[in-house]
């Protein structure tokens, strides 16, 4: 969890995915603006060579540009890369029962070990390439649900695994918005309609 999860684009230079940890705060690696939380939910931003600006987080967030995807090819979404970030993946490998006073009240996920690698989103697929071992690729069509959870993104594949991705440097919110936008584009281009919600499963109007 970090300011870059909220501000996935720099409010000054408008570049996406450029705010990174820097000393005690965070800084834009493109224009050098620095960010830190002050009182309450107020964020102080200091543009390079400028004066500090303090505003409520909601006011900063309101100025974010919409997530931009590369222009669509004539034949609809293709294999052009939309986003790539270092990620830590954990697969749901099973479930544990949850009981309250002996009464079964549901089940909770059991996660496998964390695997470091690179998450790559294109117009047609999502690929996780671990630092060691074979990459795993899922067609974007196979994504059944997208759910941000704290500082992670849970993605359920149709008939396949539930994977939880954490992003050591990138913004989880940006990834959430980008995958959602890529899915909207894919569904539109294949005539499946407008996506209504992404959880608990993707549904269309």
């Amino acid at each position: 969890m970090a300011i870059r999860d909220l501000l996935w684009a720099c409010p000054f230079c408008r570049a996406e995915d450029v705010i990174r940890p820097d000393g005690g705060g965070e800084a834009c690696k493109q224009c050098g603006a620095r960010f830190r939380r002050t009182h309450g939910a107020e964020i102080e931003a200091v543009p390079a060579g400028g004066q500090p600006v303090r505003r409520h987080a909601a006011d900063w967030a309101a100025e974010l540009p919409p997530v931009r995807l590369p222009a669509e090819g004539q034949g609809g979404p293709d294999d052009r890369e939309y986003r790539r970030s270092a990620a830590v993946a954990r697969l749901v490998v099973g479930y544990e029962p949850v009981r309250a006073g002996g009464e079964y009240v549901g089940r909770a996920e059991r996660f496998g070990p964390p695997v470091q690698g690179m998450l790559i989103l294109t117009g047609r697929s999502l690929t996780f390439a671990p630092t060691e071992g074979q990459p795993q690729q899922w067609p974007l069509d196979a994504v059944a649900a997208v759910q941000p959870s704290s500082s992670a993104l849970q993605i359920r594949m149709r008939g396949g695994p539930v994977v939880l991705f954490r992003f050591p440097e990138a913004s989880v919110r940006l990834w959430d918005e980008t995958i959602q936008e890529a899915l909207r584009r894919l569904y539109r281009s294949t005539g499946r309609g407008e996506i209504l919600e992404f959880q608990p499963r993707i549904s269309v109007r």
């Binding site: 009981r99 009240v105 549901g106 909770a108 941000p148 919600e197 959880q199």
Partner: protein, 210 residues
Amino acid sequence: MILYRLCQTIVRVGWPLVGRLHVRGMENVPASGPFLLIANHQSVLDPILIQTVCPRTLHTMAKSTQFASPPMRWLMPRLKSFPVRRFEPDPQAVRLVLRRLQEGHGVGIYIEGERSWDGRLQAPRRGTVRLILRAGVPVVLTAIAGSYEAWPRWDRRLRRSDVAIVFGQPVQWPAMLDRAEREAMVDAAASDLMSRLSDLLDAARRLRGG
């Protein structure tokens, strides 16, 4: 129940170190019988604070990943929380809500399904709206303001902040057991619920003084 009450006491004693806690509308929580408490979600503090001030014991739906570790799987049910899987339909969670309501309890659900990134109200989860329409019990809409300023989703640190909680007057739809009937009502009910919750959130912000 001992841990639930202990947690309430710890929060009541400890919260003044963080800020003031303003509460309005406690008389709107039914003194007996089932009810759904439907709240906005700004911070991890919300369930703790709402359970502390709610005059009735509240069974709260929480994301299943919070139960992933054995200590949390032991603790959370003792705080009257039960898991819901948010990334796939979870009929067990729905059944449990209905069972708790049949038993005459109050059940708390965060209608946005996750914490707000910027503190503003988000769209409601349609599954929660369907559940409200199916249950047909009094719905106490509840707004919390200030918890975002204390501990927003994008930071790990707790900061001083006053918090206000406003319980709204109960609203109720007749139980709609027919799926088609529920589906026909979902959009209108969602719009009505969020409009009421938005008004309550404004009231909570005024009460907090912000």
